[in-house]
């Protein structure tokens, strides 16, 4: 078993696209690391460099203690699950799973034992003689998993493996992948742009943007203390509200009609800031940090409802229990606990408090 370490890894494609701009982080042995970020931020590129499918322009990648920059994918002891599964269309499920072992000159009876064991774990034993095109999307996904687990590699790599499945199956497979990974204790790096997958699956969450790492941490750290404005709005649904404000002499932040009292902080009066409020932290009728909000319209989600309004010129969404607000048009008072406020520096986009 082995962890994965990236040290100032860069990738510049031919033609000059700088897809990854100096990324460093470490995934401890046995941890489940999720790379999340918007489309085109370099997640797949980074994963493919770990796999050895893409050359590293500069920097180092190590699996365990071994620097793998110059090592062929087959020798890195990794397994990868692709978004489109990449099953060999002309081979049976059995041969698909066995192929990696065959190429490694594993004895026939051992191949057979391991393929059947993997098939049993994934409940695809009855499908072993079929061809991939005779399988449903979910079954193909399982075969792709089988191909990965049968080799018992040091590291699992996943590139959006669930994005071709329907919502229900996605939830089911998400749980199953996580369970398998924990059961085998194999280090995993998982690329997704689905933030629910990111939050639920990861031990370590790496948020990327524009080829750089914005923040690394546990999912709750990242949710509770986003390091940048980007992370704050990227993680969480509906996204965090960002309201422009100004530091007052008495230590409050003024944002239009609202006055937010902050925990102790080092800011000079007159400074412009951005106040971040998670929709679900805003409470109807709370007196702490109360502010009036004219309700523009409502969205009903079943258990909760979203209240849309404007504060100091920016849109504000509050998420309150269903039925709290009967109709749009009126002005209501909302409040938020001081420790739930996030303050960002508008110039750098970084978190201040």
């Amino acid at each position: 078993m082995a962890g994965v370490t990236l040290n100032t890894v860069r990738k510049t494609y031919q033609g000059g696209v700088e897809a990854v701009k100096g990324v460093s982080f470490a995934v401890p042995d046995g941890a489940f690391c999720v790379l999340v970020g918007p489309s085109g931020c370099g997640k797949s590129t980074l994963l493919r460099m770990v796999a050895g499918l893409e050359r590293i322009t500069s920097g180092e990648i190590a699996i365990g203690d071994r620097i793998v920059n110059e090592i062929e994918p087959a020798e890195r002891d990794i397994a990868m699950v692709f978004q489109n599964y990449a099953l060999y269309p002309h081979m049976s499920v059995y041969d698909n799973i066995a192929y990696g072992l065959k190429n490694r000159k594993t004895p026939k009876d051992e191949i057979d034992r391991r393929v059947r064991e993997a098939a049993k774990i994934l409940a695809i034993e009855p499908l072993l003689d079929r061809k991939p095109r005779q399988l449903s999307g979910g079954q193909r996904q399982r075969v792709a998993m089988g191909r990965a687990i049968v080799r018992k590699p040091q590291v699992f790599l996943f590139d959006e493996p669930l994005s071709n499945l329907d919502a229900k199956l996605r939830v089911q497979m998400r749980v199953e992948i996580k369970k398998l990974q924990k059961a085998f204790g194999i280090t995993a790096i998982y690329v997704t742009h689905d933030q629910v997958e990111a939050m639920t699956m990861s031990d370590i969450l790496v948020v990327m943007n524009g080829g750089e790492v914005e923040q690394i941490g546990t999912p709750s750290e990242i949710y509770r203390h986003p390091a940048t404005r980007f992370v704050a709005t990227f993680i969480g649904s509906p996204p965090m509200n960002l309201i422009p404000g100004e530091m007052m002499a008495d230590g409050h932040v003024r944002a239009g009609e609202a006055q937010f009292r902050l925990p102790p902080h080092p800011f000079a009066p007159g400074r412009a800031v951005e106040v971040g409020l998670r929709p679900e932290d805003i409470v109807l009728g709370q007196s702490e940090n109360a502010f009036p909000l004219k309700v523009d319209f409502l969205e009903e989600l079943g258990a909760t409802q979203l209240v849309y309004g404007r504060l100091n010129g920016a849109q504000l969404i509050a998420q309150v229990p269903s039925g709290s607000v009967a109709e749009a048009g009126g002005t209501l008072s909302f409040g938020i606990a001081a420790e739930r406020l996030h303050i960002f520096d508008p110039a750098t986009g970084r978190r201040a408090v």
Binding site: A51, L53, E72, P73, A74, M80, F82, A86, P89, G100
Partner: protein, 283 residues
């Protein structure tokens, strides 16, 4: 929709198709009838549309003895020559073009695109265009009147390379990457994945190239002089002499019918393979 149309419009396509089939099939039938008559009947101009009684005799003579006058070679030997030539051309083209397409698509070597365009340009150079220099080279290499001389100059062609390149580009890259991770090198990837996926394309190309090779006329005419190296297409031509009376028409007709059989057989056999290929493989 189609079913509800007026009977006339339902009948029309059948009529058109029947006329087409008749136009194509009638001469073939006449050749077959000719191959069952005796020389006198044809020479008298009394040839009807009913097969005669000399079929066995004509086919026996054509296959194993040959005509009395012009080509004394049995047609079976000619068919063998044609067959060897057609299979060598088809097989050679497939091997060369699948390998060169594999190189052009999957390897990144200097001047890759230049190599590809060079291959592409040869599309404009069929044998007929370069016939003199090609003849000279074949003659200098001492390959006149050999199977190699018949087939090799016709093997080089860009069509196959283009076809395979086009097909390889539709194979998802992830398949190669998965193979790479599974420990298959370039040769294994070719044998284990690319080749099985290409079966349909190979079968299609084989049919086309086999018929192309079988029907060659100009090139074999130039480089074969010995009767024993004659191909069947040349044989037919030689059987038909200018003095009509000297032509053994019933044998010429028999040869024509025999010349049609191998291409037909190849189409029928390969059709099964393509259909199987189409059904069983998909990317």
């Amino acid at each position: 929709m189609v079913e509800n149309r007026h009977w006339f419009f339902r009948l029309l396509p059948h009529v058109v198709l029947s006329i087409g089939v008749f136009i194509v099939a009638f001469p073939v039938y006449v050749a077959f009838v000719g191959s069952t008559l005796d020389a006198a009947t044809i020479a008298n101009g009394q040839m009807g549309l009913i097969p005669g009684s000399h079929m066995f005799e004509n086919y026996y003579r054509t296959l194993f003895v040959g005509t009395a006058g012009t080509t004394r070679q049995p047609v079976l030997a000619m068919m063998l020559n044609s067959f060897v030539m057609a299979v060598t051309i088809a097989g050679g083209k497939i091997i060369i073009s699948i390998l060169s397409a594999y190189a052009v698509v999957y390897y990144h070597f200097p001047f890759r695109m230049a190599a590809f365009w060079l291959i592409f340009v040869t599309l404009m150079l069929p044998v007929e265009v370069r016939i003199y220099p090609t003849y000279k080279i074949v003659a200098d290499l001492g390959m006149l009147d050999t199977y190699a001389g018949l087939a090799v100059p016709l093997i080089a062609s860009a069509t196959g390379t283009l076809l395979f390149r086009q097909f390889f580009m539709t194979i998802p890259d992830e398949l190669m990457e998965a193979s790479q991770i599974d420990g298959a090198g370039p040769v294994r990837f070719f044998i284990d994945t690319v080749l099985p996926l290409s079966i349909t394309t190979i079968a299609a190309l084989f049919v086309i190239q086999f018929i192309y090779g079988w029907n060659q006329y100009l090139w074999p005419l130039l480089i074969t002089t010995r009767d024993s190296m004659q191909t069947i297409v040349i044989g037919i031509k030689k059987m038909i002499v200018t003095q009509d009376a000297l032509t053994e028409w019933q044998l010429a007709m028999t040869t024509a019918v025999l010349a049609m059989l191998p291409p037909v057989a190849v189409v029928i056999l390969m059709q099964k393979l393509f259909v199987r290929g189409l059904v069983e493989t998909e990317k």
